[in-house]
């Protein structure tokens, strides 16, 4: 085990997989010489050379499509989006092509591609650079959607994503790149589609992923002080979703708060709320309560940005709400 930053854990995953499998290569804007806008590809150009670490012009639709073509006939590309906001330009390739080629070709072609990069809000980057896009991708059959919250998960899940034979959307977090944690330096794989209970508890389940997991843990810590025990569940992969781990937690606590940075309407939280009410309605002591981003584009001003995204205070309030406390 070693302490390392989230970005270094991702770097280690890329390095190990590239060393293990010569078909794996990294492609995107500024991934080579510049070592990535967030330095996730540090040292990779030097180690693997320009055939394996490929800088592209600014052309998201283009290089995503190039990756898909390469994946269809023998390679395993990892495509870096400088940020996931720019993946919107590549939605045609991702949604119309990567996600459906296996199905449309009757299983003849596979598209083993990973599309990765940071998503979500950082610090006052405003409406076009702060988007939480997991719900866009979760809606598309054929895509897997992964969102690691810790360095260990980042490493283990990225390695599994690269080994997956279909397209994986791997959304990192800009504000977690410097976040440090214990990481297994040996071969460390976490299967896709397996959630983890990040903090056990009895009274209320909080479901949270990526950056908001840390908000949930902070809130749980504060609530512990007032005698409320929260269980925090991190799905880690949003699609396919590990329903059982989430439902088992709810069966125990009978109350749920779902945290999500993205906008409320049609968010992933809506899917979770529906799942929970369909499966364990009789066991609920309160309706599923969501703490999502407010349904507006991200404003620039600091005070408005704070008002838009979930905060620890809002999580604590939500927990009080499902406990019918004031």
């Amino acid at each position: 085990m070693a302490q390392m930053a989230y970005r270094d854990a991702l770097n280690q995953a890329l390095r190990e997989e590239m060393a293990r499998d010569p078909r794996v290569f990294l492609m995107g804007e500024e991934v080579g010489l510049y070592e990535g806008a967030y330095k996730v590809s540090k040292g990779l150009l030097q180690e693997f050379g320009p055939k394996r670490v490929i800088d592209t012009p600014i052309a998201e639709a283009g290089f995503t499509g190039v990756g898909i073509g390469a994946a269809m006939v023998g390679l395993r590309p990892v495509i870096e989006m400088m940020t996931f906001n720019f993946a919107i330009l590549a939605l045609d390739q991702i949604v119309n092509h990567a996600a459906k080629i296996s199905y449309m070709s009757g299983g003849q072609y596979r598209v083993p591609i990973v599309i990765r990069g940071p998503g979500g809000a950082a610090f006052q980057l405003a409406a076009q650079h702060s988007q939480s896009m997991e719900s866009y991708f979760c809606h598309v059959p054929g895509l897997k959607v992964v969102m690691p919250a810790t360095p260990a998960d980042a490493k283990g899940l990225l390695k599994s994503a690269i080994r997956d034979d279909g397209p994986v959307i791997f959304i990192e977090s800009e504000v977690l790149y410097g976040f440090r944690g214990e990481v297994d330096e040996e071969e460390h794989l976490i299967p896709l589609g397996v959630a983890e209970v990040k903090r056990p508890g009895e009274d209320v389940t909080i479901v949270a992923w990526s950056k908001t997991l840390h908000l949930a843990l902070e809130a749980a810590e504060a609530l512990e002080q007032e005698g409320v025990s929260c269980e925090v569940v991190d799905p880690r992969t949003l699609r396919p979703l590990d329903k059982e781990t989430i439902l088992n937690s709810v069966r125990k606590t009978n109350r749920v708060v779902v945290l999500e940075e993205g906008a409320r309407f049609s968010g992933v939280g809506a899917e979770l709320a529906s799942l929970i009410s369909e499966e364990v309605f009789d066991l609920l002591d309160a309706p599923v309560y969501r703490v999502p981003g407010i349904d507006v584009p991200m404003p620039y001003a600091r005070n408005l940005e704070r008002a838009k995204i979930p905060t620890k205070e809002r999580v604590i309030e939500a927990v009080h709400h499902v406990l019918y406390r004031q």
Binding site: Y34, D55, I58, L89, A127, Q128, H129
Partner: protein, 334 residues
């Protein structure tokens, strides 16, 4: 179709410009330089946040191009947009308030550096997506054409922006429909650290004009009069209904890509220094004193006036309130 725009002084070109116009152009460049230097300082003090892409070194392009426009003409801009906005007449106080996220800013503090827009001055907005504004420029031009207003649109974009699909689609639209739009590529040699020579197969972005059967013009982007000449010709052509042009201004950003990039590692100190020697403001100052009979005192007065305006803008922004919480929920739907 391609030609290199020189400094030929034909009637209607810079040589025939009235002194007042020339000094106005000088004032525009100075305002941009001072604004950006101040924004840098305020960013270091965390009074401006997010990410800011400075325009320092490229002032001749925005000011030369906008000097060729009517007040009611349109511009679209990119992530490096402060210069374009000031050149089109944008107000420093409203810009500064926006950068500080204040309620009095151009966008009520909701936009920030990458989204400043000014409806009254035909500034359709800075844009955080590379290439995002290129089809929008064609759309503004289509509107002007259909409404028969004679307005022209100038679309600013970078060498990196020239490689995104929107570039091709926009130029093709503009060409087939003979839209009154001038695409001005600011080739500052890099898109972040990516060297234009490695991202583009042609030597000049302007060479691609041939693919759209429109004029492609290369101009020295450090020479404001050359930019003015070239854009004037393209604008006149557009107003006559003869369609779009693709201009390429060879220029350089003196700073890093944005506030988070020191701008070294991918370009040599010597290269940066050599370009700094070609400071567009210094060059224009020399031109004005050597050939237009302007004296240093006049230029200094312009510099000082601009500094005062900027100081007032900063004071205004600092004294302005943050947006009210209710603003979070307004302006989403019409």
């Amino acid at each position: 179709m391609k030609h290199r725009a020189g400094r030929a002084r034909q009637e209607g070109d810079a040589g025939a410009l009235p002194l007042e116009k020339l000094l106005g152009m000088y004032r525009g460049m100075v305002k941009i330089r001072q604004f950006e230097e101040k924004a840098k300082e305020l960013f270091q003090q965390a009074l401006i946040r997010g990410g800011v892409h400075f325009y320092i070194g490229q002032e001749a392009v925005a000011v030369g191009a906008c000097a060729a426009l009517r007040e009611d003409d349109y511009i679209t801009s990119n992530h490096r947009g402060h210069g374009h906005c000031i050149a089109k007449g944008g107000r420093l106080d409203l810009m500064m308030a926006e950068l500080m996220g204040k309620a009095t800013g151009y966008c009520k503090g909701k936009g920030g550096s990458m989204h400043i827009a000014d409806l009254d001055r035909g500034i359709l907005g800075a844009n955080g997506l590379v290439g995002g504004s290129m089809p929008i420029a064609a759309g503004a031009a289509l509107s002007a054409k259909l409404r028969g207003t004679g307005q022209v649109t100038v679309s600013f974009f970078g060498d990196g922006g020239a490689n995104i699909g929107a570039f091709h689609e926009s130029l093709n639209f503009a060409a087939i429909w003979k839209l009154p739009v001038v695409y001005v590529c600011e080739n500052n040699l890099y898109a972040i650290s990516t060297c234009a020579a490695e991202a583009t197969a042609v030597e000049n972005i302007a060479d691609r004009a041939a693919g759209y059967n429109i004029p492609g013009v290369i101009v020295d982007g450090q020479d404001i009069l050359a930019v003015y000449d070239a854009v004037s010709q393209a604008v006149q052509r557009a107003r006559r209904g003869e369609g779009p042009s693709l201009l390429e201004a060879k220029t350089y950003r003196f700073e890093g890509h944005f506030t988070g990039d020191p701008g070294v590692g991918y370009r040599t100190k010597e290269e940066v220094e050599a370009w700094r020697q070609r400071d567009p403001i210094a060059k224009f100052r020399d031109d004005l004193t050597a050939t237009a009979g302007v004296d240093e005192a006049q230029l200094k007065a312009i510099w000082d006036e601009a500094a005062q305006e900027l100081e007032a803008a900063v004071a205004f922004a600092k004294a302005s309130p943050e947006p009210a919480d209710e603003e979070l929920l307004t302006d989403i739907y019409a």
